[in-house]
Amino acid sequence: MNGSRKTFDRPTTPGPHLEAMEARLALRIAGRLNQRTEALPHDISERLRVARLRALDRARELRKLTTTPAHQVQGGAVLVMAGPPSWWLRLASLAPLALLLAGLLLIQRSYLNQQIHAAAEIDEAILTDDLPPQAYSDPGFAEFLKSPRSVE
């Protein structure tokens, strides 16, 4: 019991001397690990090299994207697109949305016009048609005739 207690306490609060010894031993072990690492199998070394090259390519690509201007004329003839999207490209990407909105507005307006025309046609048909005699017996129509608006 005491032994385990002692083991638990000692590493948590090592004195300077013990710390130094631990560090020396640890560095020796780390040195041995380095020796093993130098002798990695060829296929693993090769895959690590490829991974490193990929990472470097990626870093180069990203640097190019952030440093190259949006469009660059090369040889006076070729237009190279690179870098973040320019303002006109962003505008162009909004064009379909604008077209869609305009189309919807147009459709709504033509639908409204159709409704107005249809209502006007009905009104015109009613107003120009002969008034049936039964209409005069209708209390509502009589009231309508008496109203100030009908007098106008």
């Binding site: 948590t12 710390e19 690990l33 990472a55 870093a59």
Partner: protein, 188 residues
């Protein structure tokens, strides 16, 4: 900002140790290679514009996170068991003398003969095996602190724990390694 050359040199200097450290953790060379590659690319994508001096700490943090992500994805039960084993203490280590191991170790400096070199590979293998058998947090602290040569504060930052915990993990790891190696008659 780190130049391509600096980034390349840094990755070259760290890739082998990164692979071994990850392989110790995941115990699968293929997975370790994938994790190291992902970490390198993540470093290049996100932090290539940082000064070269910041790269070691950033890379170690990315590598540790990538390894943890791998464990999360794999949901390997053993990883959980390893984490819990960090809380275990060794009841038989009370009378273990670190100084004795260190003295034995230093007595052997320069005494290796040509005949010993054959056995040296075996010794290195056994040391590596003992390191791989350390509890995960102890091994992580030990390797970051003494192999990657980060200081205590940097190791704590990478591991996401306090500096005191790093010291404790390191100390326990060194004691465990010294004891295990001594039991095998190995002087590191």
């Amino acid at each position: 900002m780190a130049t391509d050359h600096e980034l390349s040199d840094f990755l070259k200097s760290v890739e082998r140790r990164a692979f071994k450290r990850t392989a110790f953790a995941v115990r699968d060379d293929e997975a370790a290679l994938d994790i190291v590659q992902d970490s390198m690319i993540r470093l290049a994508e996100k932090y290539a514009d940082r000064p070269a001096a910041e790269l070691p700490l950033l890379f170690q943090r990315i590598l540790s996170n990538a390894t943890m992500d791998w464990f999360r994805r794999q949901r390997v039960r053993n990883a959980v068991v390893q984490n819990f084993s960090d809380f275990e203490t060794d009841a038989e280590g009370g009378d273990f003398d670190l100084l004795e191991t260190l003295q034995l170790s230093e007595d052997t400096i320069g005494t290796e003969s040509a005949a010993d070199s054959v056995g040296r590979v075996q010794i290195l293998l056994q040391i590596e095996q003992e390191v791989s058998q350390l509890p995960q947090r102890q091994r992580e602290a030990f390797l970051l602190r003494y192999w990657e040569e980060l200081d205590v504060a940097e190791t704590a930052a990478v591991m996401g724990c306090s500096e005191g915990s790093v010291k404790t993990h390191c100390s326990r790891a060194v004691h465990a390694l010294a004891k295990a190696l001594k039991a095998k008659g190995i002087t590191p």
